[in-house]
Symmetry: none
Subunit: 218 residues, 4 copies
DNA sequence: CTCTAAACGAGACGGTACGTCCAGTCTTCGG
DNA sequence: CCGAAGACTGGACGTACCGTCTCGTTTAGAG
């Protein structure tokens, strides 16, 4: 009455099965995109049953997130190119490579779906932003060591600027990022920013209006 | 909450109907979010038939995009606060206000859905990014006029940095942006960047160039 | 994206669709039996969607009951063979013909499923038992008219005996009823019973049981 | 209600295990009915594994049939009340008691499921009908001995009439059989039938008219 | 004004995917 | 080596939307 013969005689369980399902998820993600990815299709492709999917992941978003972050880059892997500019380019290229693949498609999809659930949103932030912040912190730490930039420049929102621009591109484009655009990000934004030194708050003028403050700053 | 009394004699047509549908779309977007927004629900809420929706918009994404950009801010509306810092804060607050409303929910949702269709993606970019670029260009033009920043600083990727950071926040958080974070963006990133002057490419020292070597980054 | 061309261009609705679904139900019932009949299979076979089924019938039992009783015999159709024996044989053959077809399979199936729901059980009784009682009542009425049997013999549980034996056979056998068995039912049971005249309570022996006192129709 | 402490050392095997499973099956049958009885639930309740069930019974129907006929009444147990009427009432009450319990629910359920499989259907007939035939044969044998009825009346389809009417009631009603209905069956149908004497086929008169003849009607 | 064609509401239609449940098989591990 | 536990594939369940379509009704504008 039933099947009686799976394609691989020792029926898959545990990790073997999990890996097969995640691989199928990535394949679907790459070929069809996030919006068209269905649990049915993943199960079919993995040769698994839907019950096996729902036993482990309670939603499409959870499944995709797991599938994607099996291949996310770990921080600290940015090669030391010898100077800040090279390191920045390398870091951006590395992040871009991730966003060009299924991770980009997944990121776009999950923003719509996972964000309403606080738990999932937190996980998403931790994985995506945390990774990138650590990456960038490492690059800047090296530059400080080399004496290329002053120590005070590495803190605050600046760590996010590169990742923000990168995501901005891929969220709106889903095409590969041109090399010239990437170089523009580094030379026009990130390098000037790093060299600008720490922020000094404007003088506390009594009327609280931050007056021009040295009109010709230059 | 729903449309008042459409089934009383004057059956709505044309613009009246369109506005009712867009209003229902926005209401659904606000209350349920993009992922849970269905054409059925919009039609029901608007007291319209699904045929009336599909006659005008060929997909959920098209409908939502129209609904959202009925209330997008036009560029050039940033108040002139008298100095660059104030203008930047105002511009960011204005963009943030848009992203906090239904437009933010819609943006997140459409990235997943509309991006595979090149036409829609183009429209989305034109509306969202174009608006923000124009806004920022206006702010920087004024600063140049006032002599706060050198003219060469206004072009290129820098026009996108503010919007990129803003979107980055809302895509990942869907909570209102704290005032301190916003001030951090301006003081730590945008102001230093504007004052940094135009980018000058580094001297082509033969050793400092990250030649192809080490392509393994990804 | 969707089908855009049903097999019969003007998409079926209303009665046409209903008839197609009922026909598919009967076909499934005949080929696979009640236990193996699924809503999915009926919908597939009818070229209809499951929603169209559930819009009209809230369960498999309801669907099958409707399908079956589209071809149930109406009472009063028993041919007048001229004498009671012939009429009884004809009536039993007619009921047997129904039970041999999909109606028999359905009856078996629905006893298990429909009985817990009082409403459906009532409908089932009305249709199946009511029909048969009316059939038998007509046959006996004719026999009384002819003077073959006394008028008092026609009431009470006797009207059910034939149908009960018939159902008993088909519920346990699902093979056609042999002609000899059927003749046995008539000659050994029904005819003697009809000729036995009305029931007379046993003499009131002082120790005997509490007499039924006209047990009523039942 | 569940099995007390199966996981304590002497793990149940063989008959002990079988009895525990059958008891759990009966309990499920009583509480939930046949349609809602699942192998999972039986296994859980019995503290057994599904494999232990399938090792012994190849389907739900087989399991239920075994469970039910562990408590079927054996023939010959009908008490001798001294006269035919009392014996018939006793026999019917005894059969009715069985049908009111889980056996009735099981019977209804298995008709749909077990009948397509000839082997199981045969077993079902042997157990249910055989038992009842033997019961009734014993009752009639006594009546012949007492001289209440002529010897020729005891054979043939008449042995089935009582059981058929009883099943007919429970299959369609699943409520307890009213005492008045039961008395009606005996007084209106079974007693007249027993007293009617053996059937003699009508003489092949060319006009096919079975003359009134009141031969042994009495 | 009447007449007609289009637009409208309502919602049925064929589909696809959902997330759940159970059947029956298979694997692992403890006793 | 058997039994408990339960993971596994498969497939039906009943629901929700999709985008298309038919159905009458209402409206606007042409004649």
């Amino acid at each position: 009455m039933t099947t009686a013969d799976h394609r691989t005689s020792p029926r898959r369980r545990g990790d073997v099965l999990v890996r097969a399902i995640l691989a199928a998820t990535l394949a679907e993600l790459r070929e069809r995109g996030y919006a068209a990815l269905t649990m049915d299709a993943v199960a079919r492709r993995a040769g698994a049953s839907k019950a096996s999917l729902y036993r482990r992941w309670d939603s499409r978003a959870a499944l995709v997130m797991d599938a994607v972050y099996e291949l996310a880059p770990s921080p600290g892997q940015v090669p030391d190119t010898g100077d800040l500019r090279g390191d920045l380019l390398a870091a951006l290229r590395q992040s871009a490579a991730v966003l060009e693949g299924p991770a980009g498609a997944a990121l776009r999809g999950m923003l719509a779906e996972a964000l309403p659930e606080p738990g999932r949103a937190r996980e998403l932030r931790a994985r995506s932003r945390g990774t990138n912040r650590a990456l960038m912190a490492e690059v800047l730490r090296r530059a400080v060591e080399r004496g290329e930039i002053p120590p005070g420049a590495v803190t605050g929102p600046r760590l996010e600027v590169g990742a923000a621009m990168l995501r901005n591109h891929y969220l709106f484009h889903n095409e590969p990022l041109g090399e010239d655009v990437l170089i523009g990000m580094v030379d026009d934004v990130l390098l000037p920013l790093c060299r600008a030194g720490p922020h000094r708050p404007p003088p506390p003028s009594p009327d609280s209006q931050p007056r021009p403050a040295r009109p010709g700053v230059g």
